[in-house]
Symmetry: C2
Subunit: 323 residues, 2 copies
């Protein structure tokens, strides 16, 4: 009998987690701490982007560069770590051009400046395959906010709006619903897919108040499940409270089933965090981009997702997986 | 008129170096320092390996994993940095199997233990292209040994033996010379190509004595030119002093032109370092794997490479480049 191939989660949990060292949190977090001892908190994280998988081959090179850096900055933000710099490995396909390289570097330079995260080093190689970009980013935290600190009674917050990027991908693919949207909504969704906004301004609030946090990169519902599992807790979430942009609301109005895609699709790069009840009011006043969507409960049951009519929802495919 | 495409060096120097931050040494070193201020020396480095470019698709997965980690450990060793841990991004082609993943992870685990360099985190993605492995490794140094500190009068040393890996690649490709070697020599060269030996035991000697150091990854002659350029110096090297293994000597005896390949080919992962004259005797006594091959000279002329008969040699293609 042929063994079923590992899922992405199984590959990490069964094959690579046994190699994890001190500071790696069993590979169950967005980022790791360098094992330096003492109070020094150097946070490290890495993410790779492959042409045709994470972006379209004809996406503007400067935007691709920015996305590659920003998905890493999003992980640093979720751990309340101020960026220090990054390393870049670039595997270039046979047909790369000088203009491509200039545009890519120009986009990267803009973001390195905007987010005070300079290039520290890298490696360039040739590849017969698609353009592949891997970035490792480093940050400094005075308190590392893990995924595992959520406690019953904590309020659950999410930053910005959810689902725009997943819907933007549908727009990029020319799905039918896109034709029923106004031009403004289409452009807004597409922009969120192409260019994540790392939530670095939330660092101070997370550091001061969050019991647990992660970035939402593989779909809100699935990522919430991961955070709760790491914390050994359950939750109740009101789906109607999940913040949607005007563009996403336009899409959901045109096609109501898109709501499910919005809350389970990937690429949001928003912050999901838990904040103890006594600090919740302070935190949401300090960070108006945070919206309360639910509450952490005791137990290890799957989170209860309540629809507008009070009925419970289940999602069989709650998050994105590469394989 | 069509613009000529950038070489690998031009791409780094002209396009990416302007993005380099504090601690990045203008992207002219093997590794970088995190910009932490004060005496904290956290060294970061990254290298990517692409199937079909850096290794053969049918190389044993455990060896590929070890090579991917070791090329990074070699950079840490050259900067006198003790390993702290590493991040891994793995872009998996459509046909990967569980057995492949298990073997890859088993090799990685062995080396993580042997070199006290645990896995801290990573990212797995799918790719329609070849297997691509990118590792970022971190180390702690009490003194960062850059490429730029060589001074006239310093003695030039190289560790281990040079050229085995470049000749081993020839063996792997089934070149004609391989048929004229004994089985032992073939196996020894192939092993050096497949499995670099990061020279971590040299860290103490480098930290105490070296004025400049780098790892030899793109060919000894070309890498020496890079080190001298970074230091603003020239050198005189006696080619006959470059240490060759018994297997490499067997190859050069069979085919004398292979000497040039040995000293300009890549993948040695030995350490090239400069040590002030007054410490040279101490250093070579403390580290018998170091061989003195020449002397740093004032000026910015290309290094003088002296053949056995005292005549000067020139190499037009002194090192490996991906494009």
């Amino acid at each position: 009998m042929t063994e079923r191939r590992f899922s992405e989660d199984e590959l990490i949990a069964e094959i690579f987690a046994p190699l994890a060292g001190e500071g790696a949190f069993g590979l169950r977090d967005d980022a790791a701490l360098l094992p330096l001892g003492g109070a020094r908190e150097i946070v490290v994280t890495t993410d790779a982007l492959v042409s045709g998988v994470h972006f379209f081959p004809d996406d503007p090179p400067g935007l691709v560069a920015k996305k590659a850096l920003r998905v890493n900055l999003s992980d640093l933000a979720a751990k309340a770590a101020e960026p220090l710099g990054f390393l870049l490995t670039l595997s270039l396909p046979p047909d790369w051009t000088n203009d491509w390289a200039r545009s890519f570097a120009a986009g990267l330079a803009e973001d390195a400046r905007e987010f005070a995260c300079p290039l520290l080093g890298g490696d360039t190689t040739a590849t017969p395959g698609p353009l592949t970009i891997s970035i490792a980013a480093f940050g400094r935290a005075t308190r590392f906010v893990s995924r595992s600190g959520a406690r019953p009674g904590d309020r659950i917050f999410v930053s910005g709006t959810i689902g725009d990027a997943a819907l933007g991908l549908g727009v990029a693919r020319g799905e039918a619903f896109a034709g029923r949207l106004g031009e403004g909504a289409r452009a807004a969704l597409l922009d969120r897919y192409r260019l994540p906004q790392p939530r670095l301004p939330l660092i101070a609030t997370l550091r001061e108040h969050a019991s647990a946090a992660m970035d939402v990169s593989d779909g809100l519902v699935g990522d919430l499940v991961k955070l709760l599992r790491a914390s050994g807790a359950s939750a109740r979430v009101e789906l109607a409270k999940i913040p949607l942009s005007a563009a996403a609301r336009e899409a959901v109005t045109a096609e109501p089933t898109l709501f499910d895609r919005a809350v389970t699709g990937g690429d949001d790069y928003e912050i999901l965090c838990c904040i103890p009840l006594e600090a919740a009011a302070w935190a949401s006043a300090a960070a108006p981009s945070l919206t309360e969507i639910g509450e952490v409960l005791a137990g290890e049951a799957a989170p209860l997702l309540l629809g507008r009519d009070g009925s419970a929802r289940r999602y069989d495919k709650a998050s994105f997986s590469h394989f």
